[in-house]
């Protein structure tokens, strides 16, 4: 064949998106809500998930899929709550993808679960580009990170169903303008809910728990 140009116009992430759709269908058949928890490293994903488990586990059967670059420290913390935890080590990779989640779902007894939390890899850049098949994205921004993050990572905040501003207990020590923040998010993503919380003191967490319960029903 002599050299020629062929038109492709094919999205590189199309295969991930297709697999994410398969995951979502599988969850829907089992009547499971899956929430993808995203943030930078150290914003409080594990703490938020732990507090949510403690509050909700009497009423709902919960499982957790833990994504980490390496180590199983977070999975160990969560497995003390006596519920199914699947650890995914990405081996250096900075995001989870739909095939990884499919494997994790295969390892869970889906008939015995109502709610799954995915703890994504700590990263505000590319994790938003990979649909995992979750029904909702919960993005955590912690007060010490600063209120300018939606300007720097608009894609992440535009993909969020919920934005949790965590560590409000340290607000007096930082320049985070909490009053103005919901308007920044609203401009970029009018349908997103914004909840200021402290996973440590429990302040504000009731709004988050209520949102999960409303979404479950």
């Amino acid at each position: 064949m002599s050299p020629k140009i062929i038109t492709v116009k094919e999205n590189i992430l199309a295969s991930n998106e297709e697999k994410a759709g398969i995951n979502r269908n599988l969850l829907d058949r089992h009547n499971i809500l899956m929430i993808n928890v995203l943030s930078s490293a150290g914003a409080g994903k594990t703490s938020l998930i732990l507090q949510s488990i403690r509050r909700l586990k009497a009423r709902y059967r919960i499982a957790v899929i833990e994504g980490n670059v390496a180590s199983c420290i977070d999975a160990d913390r969560i497995s003390r709550e006596n519920l199914p935890v699947i650890q995914i080590n990405t081996g250096g990779g900075c995001h989870l993808d739909a095939p990884m989640i499919k494997k994790a779902l295969n390892a869970l007894d889906l008939d015995a679960i109502d709610l799954i939390f995915i703890e994504n890899v700590g990263n505000l850049v590319c994790t938003a580009d990979f649909d995992l098949g979750a029904h909702k994205n919960a993005v955590i921004l912690s007060v010490p990170e600063g209120d300018d993050k939606p300007y720097k990572y608009p894609v992440m905040f535009s993909e969020a169903d919920v934005v949790l501003i965590n560590k409000t207990d340290v607000l007096p020590y930082f320049d985070f303008k909490l009053d103005d923040f919901p308007r920044i998010i609203e401009g970029l993503n009018p349908s997103a809910k914004v909840f200021p919380v402290s996973a440590k003191t429990g302040e504000g967490m009731d709004s988050w728990f209520s949102w999960i319960e409303e979404t479950l029903t």
Partner: protein, 113 residues
């Protein structure tokens, strides 16, 4: 390490399309990359060289078209580029904006033989 998995997907899309066209070799790949994807050319080239070496895409050159971050004001309906650290509408100064460009990541076309 973001690019490794992206290059794996890129290569699989390229090889599938080349096989359909019964190509003997992929000479070049035209990749469209939005600025918000955070995909770096050098890292893509590095992983592509490594991952493609036993395939018909070995030695193919990747040609990049970058798409800048583009926003739309929900009130004025005008399009404007993302500014550093600010995405207010240049007309109404509002912040009710929608991301309409910069998330692209696809193969436009390929040169094969």
């Amino acid at each position: 390490m973001h690019e490794q998995s992206i290059v794996q997907s890129l290569l699989s899309v390229a090889l599938d399309n080349a096989a359909k066209a019964e190509a003997r070799k992929i000479l070049s790949i035209h990749l469209v990359v939005g600025d918000y994807t955070g995909v770096e050319e050098d890292a893509v080239n590095f992983f592509f060289g490594f991952l493609s070496k036993d395939t018909i895409a070995a030695g193919a050159r990747i040609q990049y078209t970058h798409v800048p971050g583009q926003l739309r004001c929900r009130d004025c309906d005008i399009l404007f580029p993302m500014q550093k650290r600010d995405y207010r509408c240049p007309k109404c100064k509002g912040r009710r904006v929608e991301i309409v460009g910069g998330r692209e990541l696809y193969i436009e076309d390929m040169k094969i033989e």
